[in-house]
Amino acid sequence: MIETIYIEKKIKNHPRTKFILKKFKKARVLEIDKYAEIFNKRNQNFRIQKANPDLILAHKNDGFVLPAPEGFGIGSSENFYFSHMYNCIYDCRYCFLQGMFSSANYVIFVNFEDFDTSIKNVINKNINSKITFFSGYDCDSLALENVTGFAKHILPLFQQYPEVDIEFRTKSIQREPFMSIEPMKNVIMAYSLMPDLMSSSLDNKVPSISKRIQVISDLALRGWKIGLRFDPLIHGEDWKSLYENLLEKVYNSIPLESIHSVSVGPLRFPKKMFKDILKLYPDEPLFTSPLASSKGVVSYDEKIEEEMSSFCKNLTLKYLDNSQIFRCYA
């Protein structure tokens, strides 16, 4: 339940602002000059805000499309991301957003058309390369789709560029607009998954793994291409059998020909971010794992990372081709 909505004066009459406001009729609306007045100011507490976040509607001025961090790709030579939103309605304990922002309020940028222009510019500049765009790096790309309508807005643009891929990475069970439109060959519906036992402890407020698998299966049957993201890989007692059960379940629930790619990614935090997150959640069992700091990154030690990645990769190879499997290091 959103109690307060802050709106930048500049976009108070924007049709998308009005569209979003209609969904929160009871919320108190306050006009602001810049979203930075509220968001990510110093002296805020992410954990406390997360219990009752407000919504900010804003205009993004620049940085619409950015190069994806190295190690984030799934086979293209050029990878970019864009975020129409900051923050997420879910609350995963390993999420880097909790270390990146000091505010947990949701920011939605309503000027989607400026994203369109930037995306087209990037495509035109990289006309000879294979490009993948990742939607929602600073948020979950679909979790608030029924409020923002961003995917519905952006899909027609990618219909014009069938050779350019777009990935929607999500943990949501959002089906629309995908069930209502014709599947597109250049769209990857990517789902982050981990064994149920770990997910129920770490993926707070997120739909269960079985619900996610059900949606994946429905979208696959409808003809959408699926990305499976075992990222981050979580260590613990019986991790092998937990991951084995998960992978077997997934590969036996969805048509294999619908799978575009699988990626496995280790759990990693920049050192400073880890310190900040640990301060927020010092009693979190995840942080009692054998995580250690090396070269400015906090992660499981290399042996564990390697063992877990190889294990998942080898299991996947029973079902898919090596060329479909990627290691994600971002």
């Binding site: 109690e3 307060t4 802050y6 108190r28 306050l30 602001i32 000059d33 007045e37 509220i38 100011k41 002296n43 805020q44 507490n45 406390i48 805000q49 219990a51 009752n52 976040p53 407000d54 505010s103 064994p195 036992l197 770990m198 402890s201 979580i234 260590h235 613990g236 007692e237 991790w239 937990l242 310190k275 640990l278 301060k279 010092p282 009693d283 979190e284 069992p285 995840l286 942080f287 009692t288 794992s289 054998p290 995580l291 250690a292 030690d301």
Partner: protein, 283 residues
């Protein structure tokens, strides 16, 4: 004893302009005057969980008394800071109490409190002025202290711990000239249960945060037995925070009892974490 320890973790500081605004609150939270001779009158309860200062009128007084209270009461970073008082209003109903969610002053500085308690109280914006204003028909709430209180308090804690509540005492149809001490006391009294409800949220907030942020008890024991550098103390604190989730204090002491120096202690604790496999079915 247990109760005392529990209460100590709650930490609330009140900044109130007038004695008549504070009277009912002082009674309710059983606060008494600390000392006649302080710069601003300061009150506290026996458990020292609630402290209150009378700031007097105006922004300078409010700012100065807030920092004064901070120093005198040794408030922690996770103390809740409350400003309650009467206010003029062109929009609110006489006698009603409002939570403030936007504060601005005549220098056009605007600030926004963060994450207010879930409450039935309505919210309003507050204009803090340096001179009394008589025409406030277009304003939601007007006072002479709020913005200064908020500016100083937000240097002492994070914004989620600061709350301003205002009771409408005068407006277009309630002349300020008719306001007297008795009426002010009555206005606060009639809103006391609503004030207490909001305060219990802030009590809990500071209590939770104090619990989360407090150094593990065993940290003091260990750091008095071995000599740790500043960096090592931070390492030690972080390791102990992680270890205490799955390891009792006695086990930790047993683990390090043979260690010759602080580096060995850090190593031993690090190795304990390295060997831990989280049992996800237990958490």
């Amino acid at each position: 004893m247990i109760k005392n320890n529990f209460l100590k973790k709650t930490s609330v500081r009140w900044v109130v302009a007038l004695k008549e605004e504070a009277e009912v609150i002082l009674d309710n939270y059983k606060m008494v005057l600390v000392n006649e001779k302080t710069l601003y009158p300061i009150y506290k309860n026996v458990e020292e969980t609630h402290w209150l200062t009378l700031s007097g009128i105006g922004r300078h007084n409010s700012a100065a008394s807030t920092s004064y209270l901070y120093t005198i009461s040794k408030a922690s970073k996770w103390t809740s800071w409350i400003n309650v008082g009467i206010a003029g209003s062109g929009k609110g109903d006489y006698g009603n109490i409002y939570l403030v969610d936007k504060i601005f002053n005549q220098n056009a500085n605007t600030t926004y409190p963060a994450t207010m308690p879930k409450s039935n109280l309505s919210k309003m914006t507050l204009l803090t002025t340096d001179i009394p204003i008589t025409d406030y028909s277009s304003k939601e709430l007007i006072d002479m202290e709020g913005s200064a209180f908020f500016d100083i308090a937000s240097k002492l804690t994070t914004k989620e711990f600061i709350c301003i509540m205002k009771i409408v005492s005068d407006g277009p149809s309630n002349d300020i000239k008719q306001l007297n001490k008795l009426k002010i006391i009555q206005l606060v009294k009639s809103n006391l249960s609503k004030i207490s409800e909001v305060i219990s949220y802030y009590e809990k907030l500071s209590e939770n945060e104090n619990q989360i942020r407090a150094k593990p008890y065993i940290f003091y024991k260990i750091s008095s037995n071995w000599h740790f550098s500043v960096t090592q103390r931070t390492q030690l604190e972080n390791l102990l925070r992680r270890l205490r989730v799955f390891c009792g204090n006695d086990d930790i002491m047993e683990l390090i009892k043979q260690c010759e120096n602080s580096s060995f202690v850090i190593n031993a604790l690090n190795n304990k974490i390295k060997g831990n496999k989280v049992n996800w079915s237990d958490v």
